[in-house]
Structure formats: structure tokens, C-alpha cells
């Protein structure tokens, strides 16, 4: 997947929608399906995430959202 990207663990989401509201590019939405807890969950539209982390901080659940990013590192050879 193209980075940055958001990963949402559907079974740790309680469907509050706060991440969706916080996402400026609007790349998150609520599923039609229900998860194991009985909630409709947040989903990533699979492109357009800027890695801003707004959704991560908006989410009350500790493990539901992860943001993957590329980071440049310098290594000595």
C-alpha cells in the first residue's frame, strides 16, 4: 500500500465517527457492515491519507488506529 496510510482495526472500533470528522482530506468513512462488537466501523478509502495523525488523536480507543509512514533515515556504510 502507498504510504502514508491509516490502518483501522475494525474489531477495535466503536463507530463513534470522531476520526472521520477529524480527517481533512476526508478519506475515512463508516462501514455498512457491523463488526464483532456490533458497531459500524471506520474504513480507509485506500488512498489519500496524508499521515497527519489527526484521526489517531481523535480516536478514544488505544489500538483502533495506526498510521504508517515512511521515514528517511541515514545509515553509515
Amino acid at each position: 500500500m502507498k504510504l502514508p496510510a491509516v490502518e483501522i482495526k475494525s474489531n477495535q472500533c466503536k463507530g463513534c465517527g470522531l476520526c472521520i470528522d477529524s480527517c481533512k482530506p476526508g478519506v475515512l468513512s463508516l462501514s455498512k457492515a457491523f463488526n464483532l462488537l456490533g458497531y459500524q466501523y471506520a474504513e480507509y478509502k485506500q488512498s489519500g491519507c496524508t499521515g497527519c495523525e489527526a484521526c489517531y488523536y481523535a480516536c478514544p480507543e488505544p489500538g483502533a488506529i495506526s498510521i504508517h509512514k515512511e521515514k528517511k533515515v541515514q545509515v553509515q556504510r
Partner: protein, 476 residues
């Protein structure tokens, strides 16, 4: 020769290390999510606290105090040291922690019912003492856990379970601004209110929490961070509307901002040296070293004693002395005073159990021994004495005989004997003497020992010893 090349790696921002991966302590099947409702402000705030702990490398040093309230189960989640405090008492528990473990980072995490209602005294005094701790105060304007009753922070007009037509300032008072209140105190170093709403403000929360923890690391003292947070469930609002309500209704009254910050000028607190030397502690507390070897034969069974009199007669003290003497003799003892309106004249009483085995209950409902120091005491407890038991009557003040025929009665003029020694107040010591004469459970010397440590003045010790002897030797 080495060269520097630039490559890319993937970094992930996810669950902070200071939150467990799976919540083993949580009951039920789902051990991956919290028990918080969708959109709950606690979840966000706790995640920020955990993130700060992790990134500042404080996980191994932190003690997180869970309060009573919706965050009572924080110890399910926080991968730190954890203590769960009684309702409102987190800052008092924290005080003990910071003093006994001065290198720990102590976080007192509390709701507004916990901190601003039942725990008002604890927070004010911990703040006033400037304890080196960080308080995270979750202001969600309601009692969450118990189903939405009014909190001291509930807004005027806000409907709650206990203010069904809205909080009325005339009858329920005004919402309490805790940050402002704490900031008026001399000792606190840093007091800020933040609002956990949109991205910008969440970052302010994040910064404030870090600052509070950093100041604690530097031993700069007490910091207080109030976080305006949502309770969608009890506000009966969607998570979105709840955030809007914080912004539109709470923020204008509970204005976010820094209310006090003297961190730049304040000197670090000295590190207290907890005393852990056993010998030294025993000395400070006036305790004896080690377990006493029983001096009597020790086979006394279980004696259940009730001592009653009017306030000021020393019934409670007499009980404590008997219990202490028994303890010094290597026996098991309990002492349970009964306070109450009786303290003013009627009957004050205590229950003492002295036993050669472990004691199941300190309550004495059927005493083997009743020491009645005045008439109301005899009237109140005569019927409770176990058949075959013994009643010791202060005949100076009790003008009647024991009516029961299935118990033994002993009459002695406690008060007159004491007055004869010039110390009416020693009637309780006379009572102890009478007790010892008829109940061979404790050696008289043990009582003398207790008397010697109970009074500073030598004459008082001697008069009391003579009073014990007078009771012991009294023949009706």
C-alpha cells in the same frame, strides 16, 4: 572509508507502549478495547497520558492512580505501576506514594465527581502542600459511572438525573472552576485547563500533559491539568454533538488557558529520604521489636469483654489498656470503640476480645464479661451478657443489683476507691483491677507496663497502679 546513504523505513504510530497490548485484567471475551463508551473523553485523555509516559521513557517509574468513576478500571490498560484509590482519595494516596517512593512518577487521574465533590479536601490539601505529582482532572460536567447525576462542574441549566429540569444555581450552586481555584494556592507550580475537542486543542492537551510530567521529573512540584472531556452517554448526545457542546457551552465558562505557571523560577523540591530502617521506625512509632513471647500460660480461650460508662469515665481507655496488655502478653486482641451520640453522657462503650487463637470478629454482641461503670450501661447491656458470664458493677454509681440469675455479679465501688486515692479519673484503672482479680487472663504486671507507657507523669503512673491494686484487692 564509510559513506552515509539515505534509505527509507516504515514507522508506525499506534497504541502507546504504556497501554497493554491485551487487557488481561479485563473480564469478558473482548480484551482489546476499553470499557469506555463510543466517543468517551476518557479514552482520548488516557491515550495522551500513555503516549507521554511512553515517549518520555517513564513507563517503569510511573504509578498511575485509578480513581472511582468510569476510569476506575484504568489499571486494566495502563502498563505502569497501578493503584486504585477510594473515591476522591487519589491525591492522598498519591501523597503517600510520592513520599515513600520519591523516584516514582505519580499520576492522580480523577473525574469531576471524584475530585471536585467527594474528594474536595484531598485535592485542595495535596495542591496546597505542593506534592510532587501530576493531577489529570477529567471535567465532563457529570457523574458518568453512576448514570449521570449532577457534578459540582455541571453547567447551570444542564439536565442531569438529579437536576431533571436543569441545574439551578440558586439551589445547587454554580459550576466549580477547579483550575482557577487551585491556581490561587501558593504551592502549585503549573495549572492549565485544556479542551479535548478538535485537533488543535487535542495537541494542547498533549503538550500540557507532557509539561506536567516533565515538571514532576524535575521535582518541581504539583501540577494540575484540567481536561474538558465528553460523556456522550450521560449527556444523551452523539459524540459529534458532545464535542460541539464542550466548545459552545463548557468552554465559555470553563475557559481554557494557563492559570498558573511558576515553573521557570521555582527550585526543585528536595528529595525526601523515606525511612525504611525497621529499628528506626519502631523507635519513631514507639513500637516494640518483634513478637512478644507469651508470658502467661496463654491458654485462656476467648474472652469477649464489653466496657461501658459515660463519656469521660475512661471506658474506652480501659479497653485499650486491656487489649494492649493482652497483646504484650503475646495474645490475639481486638479493640473496637463505639462512638456516637452516647459520648455525651449516656453510654460510651468499647468491645475488647482477648484470645489465644485468631479472632474472627471484633464485634462483641454476647460478652463473657461486662464492666458497667454507670447505671445506663448496666441497663443497656445486662441482657446481652452470655449465660455463665460475669458482670462487674461500679456500685458507687449503680444503685441496683444485677437482675439476671444466670450470670455472676461482682460489685465494687470503682469511683469511691479512685476518689480515695485522690484521682477520681482513675475509676477505670480500678475497674481493670477488679477485672484482673476475677479474670485470670492477663498478668497484673502487663497492665503496669501499659500504664508506665501511657502516662508521662510519674505520679499519674503511680496513682493508676495503686488504683489497679485497689480494684484487685477489693473484697466486698
Amino acid at each position: 572509508m564509510s559513506e552515509t546513504i539515505t534509505t527509507t523505513t516504515t514507522v508506525t504510530k499506534g497504541r502507546p507502549e504504556a497501554i497493554y497490548e491485551t487487557f488481561e485484567r479485563k473480564s469478558g471475551k473482548d480484551k482489546l478495547t476499553t470499557h469506555y463508551c463510543p466517543g468517551c473523553g476518557h479514552g482520548r485523555a488516557q491515550k495522551l497520558v500513555a503516549e507521554a509516559i511512553s515517549e518520555m521513557g517513564l513507563g517503569d517509574r510511573t504509578i498511575f492512580i485509578s480513581p472511582v468513576g468510569c476510569s476506575v478500571f484504568s489499571y486494566y490498560y495502563m502498563n505502569t505501576g497501578n493503584v486504585q484509590a477510594p473515591h476522591g482519595r487519589a491525591p492522598a494516596v498519591g501523597t503517600g506514594l510520592v513520599r515513600a517512593r520519591p523516584d516514582s512518577i505519580v499520576i492522580s487521574y480523577q473525574g469531576d465527581g471524584d475530585l471536585a465533590a467527594i474528594g474536595t479536601a484531598e485535592i485542595i490539601h495535596a495542591a496546597n502542600r505542593g506534592e510532587n505529582m501530576t493531577v489529570i482532572f477529567i471535567n465532563n460536567a457529570i457523574y458518568g459511572m453512576t448514570g449521570g447525576q449532577m457534578a459540582p462542574t455541571t453547567m447551570v441549566g444542564q439536565r442531569t438525573l438529579t437536576t431533571p429540569s436543569g441545574r439551578n444555581a440558586a439551589t445547587e450552586g454554580h459550576p466549580m472552576r477547579m483550575a482557577e481555584l487551585i491556581a490561587t494556592l501558593e504551592a502549585p507550580v503549573y495549572v492549565e485547563r485544556v479542551s479535548c475537542t478538535d485537533v488543535k486543542n487535542i495537541h494542547k492537551c498533549r503538550k500540557a500533559i507532557r509539561k506536567g510530567l516533565q515538571l514532576q521529573v524535575e521535582r518541581k512540584g504539583f501540577s494540575f491539568i484540567e481536561i474538558l472531556a465528553t460523556c456522550p452517554t450521560n449527556w444523551k448526545k452523539t459524540p459529534q454533538d458532545s464535542i460541539k457542546w464542550v466548545q459552545d457551552v463548557m468552554e465559555p465558562y470553563f475557559k481554557p488557558g494557563v492559570y498558573k505557571d511558576i515553573s521557570a523560577t521555582v527550585q526543585p523540591l528536595p528529595r525526601p529520604e523515606p525511612k525504611t530502617d525497621r529499628k528506626e521506625l519502631e523507635k519513631i512509632l514507639g513500637l516494640q521489636s518483634g513478637k512478644t513471647v507469651a508470658k502467661t500460660t496463654g491458654k485462656i480461650g476467648e474472652r469477649r469483654i464489653k466496657i461501658a460508662g459515660f463519656g469521660g469515665q475512661g471506658a474506652l481507655t480501659a479497653g485499650a489498656m486491656l487489649a494492649t496488655a493482652g497483646m504484650n502478653d503475646g495474645l490475639q486482641v481486638t479493640w473496637l470503640p463505639s462512638y456516637g451520640p452516647e459520648m455525651r453522657g449516656g453510654t460510651a462503650n468499647c468491645s475488647v476480645v482477648i484470645s489465644d487463637k485468631r479472632i474472627g470478629s471484633p464485634l462483641v454482641t454476647q460478652p463473657n464479661v461486662l464492666i458497667a461503670m454507670n447505671r445506663p450501661s448496666l441497663d443497656a447491656f445486662e441482657q446481652e451478657v452470655a449465660p455463665g458470664g460475669i458482670i462487674m458493677v461500679n456500685s458507687s454509681l449503680i444503685d441496683r443489683k444485677v437482675a439476671r440469675t444466670d450470670v455472676k455479679a461482682v460489685y465494687a465501688p470503682f469511683t469511691e476507691l479512685a476518689a480515695g486515692l485522690g484521682l477520681k479519673a482513675a475509676a477505670n484503672a480500678v475497674a481493670i483491677g477488679v477485672f484482673l482479680a476475677h479474670e485470670k487472663s492477663i498478668d497484673r504486671e502487663r497492665i503496669y507496663e501499659v500504664l508506665r507507657t501511657s502516662f508521662k507523669k510519674k505520679e499519674a503512673v503511680e496513682t493508676n497502679i495503686r488504683a489497679v491494686d485497689a480494684g484487685y484487692e477489693y473484697k466486698a
